[in-house]
Symmetry: C2
Subunit: 177 residues, 2 copies
DNA sequence: CTACAACTGTAGCGGTTGCTACATTCGACT
DNA sequence: AGTCGAATGTAGCAACCGCTACAGTTGTAG
């Protein structure tokens, strides 16, 4: 049990690195294993099935994402809702976050297909991000609950448009917020 | 040539129907062919390759989407930006549009993976939607260009959050627009 | 009727998929 | 030293993937 847990803990970061580079949608056991320095046989041994492996991977990636977010943003609050949007977009638009965004859209695609594990992971990530926005809105925001939800929605729309090569649209819309 | 074009025109709606039901991400030639009443052999004969088939399918789906949008929305303008967002969300949240949203996230996922055909189709769809929003904003909007872009961004964010089971977030954020 | 091009079915290629049966090695405990 | 379970390698399964070679069968134009 202990050895198994240890092995999984060693494997997960390597698997995550491979997925961040090559995407989650068409990740298969043999390339995954090669990247992690094992065999498909052992991946199945440690995780039971590919489905479980992906579920564990999603949980791991969700943790990594919120950790990276906390690391990238200082504790201070934004000057305005608009500033809060701009801050998040500036950071997540940066190169460091690009690989995660790439797999994020694979996750959303899995959610739209009805995959329960994807839905759980994506929901958790969004809940975390919402909390982060709540914590970073200006102190004097007239309605932090609604404001944070509006900000989060706009951020996500901006990221989708950026993913399809229309990042100029949310940028130009920012002034109308 | 004529016969080929005809065949493709007969095939495309059937292929689109299958993709709208089962998703685009893991659509493969044999099931596609079965759904269209042909063989994988003939699909490749008519389209040349799976890549080209998907490209043609994307163009067809983009056309179907904007047609459905024009059909669902009357010509009159919205009362406000907020109302415009609410109108689009009400329609696209309806059951009829659900299958399209399902394949939409497959398209976005393909864009994030760098697929050029997906990027082109997605960009065209977004451009069409942006134009639609511009045309449906209130006459007296102070800045229709920026306003439409803001509205579109919010709509897309709302749809992503809905896809991951957090449709309540954009709903609650609407009042902060 | 012939000739030629468009069309289509059959069968299969080499590759990948998730997963498993079987045999073996390793390491800790008695 | 011996035992037992955890860990691992090898080999392979049946199903699927996109695609193609080959052999027809049509439909049509001269």
């Amino acid at each position: 049990m202990t050895a198994t847990r240890l092995s999984r803990d060693v494997l997960l970061p390597r698997l995550a690195a491979h997925v961040l580079e090559h995407g989650l949608a068409d990740a298969s056991l043999r390339p995954l294993a090669r990247a992690a320095g094992t065999s498909d046989r052992m991946l199945l041994y440690h995780f039971g099935s590919k489905e479980q492996l992906v579920a564990d991977l999603l949980a791991y990636l969700a943790g990594q994402f919120s950790a990276a977010l906390d690391r990238a943003f200082p504790a201070e609050r934004a000057a305005s809702r608009e500033d809060c949007v701009a801050q998040v977009l500036a950071i997540t638009g940066e190169g460091t976050f690009q690989p995660f965004m790439r797999v994020w859209w694979d996750i959303v695609s899995g959610c739209a297909a009805g995959n329960a594990a994807y839905l759980e992971a994506a929901g958790a990530i969004m809940d975390g991000l919402l909390q982060w926005v709540v914590d970073h809105l200006p102190e004097d925001d007239p309605d932090p609950q609604a404001g944070a939800r509006m900000v989060l929605t706009y951020i996500e729309g901006a990221q989708m448009l950026a993913a399809v090569g229309r990042g100029d649209i949310p940028q130009a819309g920012l002034s109308a917020l």
